[in-house]
C-alpha cells in the first residue's frame, strides 16, 4: 500500500499530474475577492473565514474526478482489484495521496492568504487548525464521490452534485471555528465537531467507496 502511495505522489508531481491546481485556484480566490469586494478592511475581515473555507473546499473539488478515473481508464484499477491490495486500502491510500497533494498545501498557504483578506489576528491559529482537521474529510468524501462516478464519462458535474452537499457540514463548522476564533470566542466546539466529521469519514468512507468501486468494475 505504501507502494501505491509513492506511485500516486510521484504521478502527481510529474508533468500533468495536477499538483498545484488546487493551490493556484485557492490563491486566485483569495487574490480576487478583495479586488471584487473592495478594500474595506472591516468587511473583508468579516467575510474572510467564509471565503477561505469556501475557497479551500472548491480547490479540493477541482482535482477529485482524477482520483480513480485515470486508473479506471488505463485498466490499472482492474489490476489492483485482482492484486493482493484490498480495495479499501486502495481508497484510503488514494485519499491520503489526494490530501497530501491538495489538502496539505492549502492548509500551509492559508495563513498567507488570510493576510490578503485581513483576517483578524486571533483567527490564524484557528484557520490552520480547522483546515488541518477538516481537509482530510474533504479528500475522503471526495474519494467516495469519485468512486461512485468512476465509470461515467465526464462525471465531473454529477460528482460535484454528489459531493457538495456532503461538504456542507465541514464548511459550516470550519468557517464557524475561524469566525469565533477571529472575534475571540470559543472555537473549540466547532473544531471538535469538524474533527469528528473527519474521523467518521476515515472510519466509514473507505469501505463505502470500495463497495462503490466493486460495483463499478463489473
Amino acid at each position: 500500500m505504501i507502494a501505491l502511495l509513492q506511485r500516486d505522489l510521484r504521478l502527481a508531481f510529474r508533468a500533468g499530474g495536477g499538483f498545484g491546481l488546487g493551490l493556484a485556484f485557492f490563491l486566485m480566490v483569495a487574490v480576487l475577492v478583495p479586488l471584487g469586494v473592495g478594500p474595506e478592511g472591516a468587511l473583508l475581515a468579516r467575510i474572510a473565514p467564509g471565503i477561505l473555507w469556501v475557497g479551500a473546499l472548491l480547490a479540493c473539488l477541482l482535482s477529485l474526478d482524477r482520483m480513480f478515473a485515470l486508473d479506471f481508464e488505463d485498466g490499472a484499477l482492474d489490476l489492483m482489484a485482482v492484486s493482493p491490495l484490498p480495495l479499501e486500502g486502495v481508497v484510503a491510500m488514494k485519499a491520503l495521496a489526494h490530501w497530501l497533494v491538495t489538502g496539505l498545501p492549502l492548509v500551509l498557504i492559508a495563513p498567507v492568504l488570510g493576510l490578503l483578506l485581513s483576517l483578524a489576528p486571533g483567527g490564524y491559529f484557528w484557520l490552520l487548525a480547522s483546515l488541518f482537521l477538516g481537509t482530510p474529510a474533504l479528500s475522503l468524501i471526495g474519494g467516495f464521490g469519485a468512486a461512485l462516478t468512476v465509470g461515467l464519462k465526464r462525471g465531473g458535474l454529477i460528482l460535484s452534485l454528489i459531493v457538495l452537499p456532503m461538504y456542507v457540514p465541514s464548511l459550516i463548522f470550519g468557517a464557524e471555528a475561524v469566525r469565533r476564533g477571529a472575534v475571540g470566542g470559543d472555537a473549540v466546539v466547532p473544531l471538535l465537531l469538524l474533527a469528528a466529521i473527519s474521523l467518521g469519514s476515515v472510519a466509514i468512507l473507505p469501505f463505502a467507496a470500495a463497495a462503490a468501486l466493486r460495483a463499478n468494475l463489473k
Binding site: 489490476l79 482489484a81 485482482v82 492484486s83 491490495l85 468494475l217
Partner: protein, 204 residues
C-alpha cells in the same frame, strides 16, 4: 488448480454463455476461441473475480490468479522500471530484472512509458504478469500489436511459466505456436436467446 462447473456469465444484463465447464491443472494452457462478442473477455473477467458469475461454480484460490486485459494499466509519466516496480511491490516482490529481460525491455528500462510504441507497451504489460508471482494467468488477447519476434518472446515466457507448474487461460485469435495448448471453442456454450414469452402479453 482451477475448476469451473456449469458456469453462466452475463454482460450488460444479458446471459452470453451458459453450461461452461472445464478444469485447469498445473502446466495446462487453455486457449479460448470464438467469434467476437461470444464472451471470452466476460469469462476471463468472471474468473478473475472482477464480476460475479450468474450461475455455476468456480473453484480456485483467488490469490493465485492474475489478469491481463485489453488495457495494461501503464502510467505514461512513469518509466518502464517504475511501472513494473510498482506492480512487483504491490504483489510483495522486489525483483523485476527477470521480467525485464524476459520481455526484452532492458534497453527501455529508464524510458518513460509515454514514449513507448504500442507493441513495447504491450510487452511491458505482459512483463507485469511475471512480477506478480502468481500461478494462474488469465490473458485477454495478449498478442495484440506484438510483432512476430515479440509473439515468439511471449510464447517462450508462457512456456517457461508452464514449465514451472503455472497455468494459463488465453483468449486469442492467432496461433501462439504452442502445440501443448488445449483449445476450447466457446461457441457451443452460447446462451440460448432469451425467450420472448412476454411479448404477446405486452401487445395483446
Amino acid at each position: 488448480m482451477l475448476q469451473v462447473h456449469d458456469l453462466a456469465v452475463s454482460r450488460g444484463g444479458l446471459t452470453v454463455l451458459e453450461g461452461l465447464g472445464f478444469a485447469l491443472r498445473p502446466s495446462d494452457l487453455l486457449v479460448l476461441r470464438g467469434p467476437n462478442g461470444v464472451g471470452k473477455t466476460t469469462v476471463l473477467r468472471t474468473l478473475a473475480g472482477l464480476q460475479p458469475a450468474l450461475r455455476g461454480q468456480i473453484l480456485a484460490n483467488p490469490d493465485q490468479i492474475t489478469y491481463s486485459g485489453h488495457a495494461d494499466g501503464i502510467k505514461a509519466t512513469l518509466t518502464v522500471g517504475e511501472n513494473l516496480g510498482f506492480w512487483a511491490a504491490v504483489h510483495g516482490h522486489s525483483a523485476i530484472d527477470p521480467a525485464i529481460s524476459a520481455m526484452n525491455l532492458t534497453a527501455l528500462r529508464a524510458r518513460r512509458a509515454a514514449d513507448l510504441s504500442a507493441g513495447q507497451k504491450r510487452r511491458l504489460g505482459l512483463a507485469r504478469l511475471l512480477v506478480t508471482g502468481r500461478k494462474i494467468w488469465l490473458m485477454d488477447e495478449p498478442t495484440v500489436s506484438l510483432d512476430a519476434a515479440s509473439v515468439a518472446l511471449f510464447g517462450a515466457m508462457l512456456r517457461g511459466h508452464l514449465a514451472q507448474g503455472g497455468a494459463a487461460i488465453v483468449a486469442t485469435h492467432i496461433d501462439l505456436g504452442l502445440p501443448e495448448a488445449r483449445m476450447l471453442d466457446l461457441t457451443p456454450f452460447k446462451a440460448a436467446a432469451t425467450r420472448q414469452g412476454a411479448f404477446d402479453e405486452a401487445f395483446a
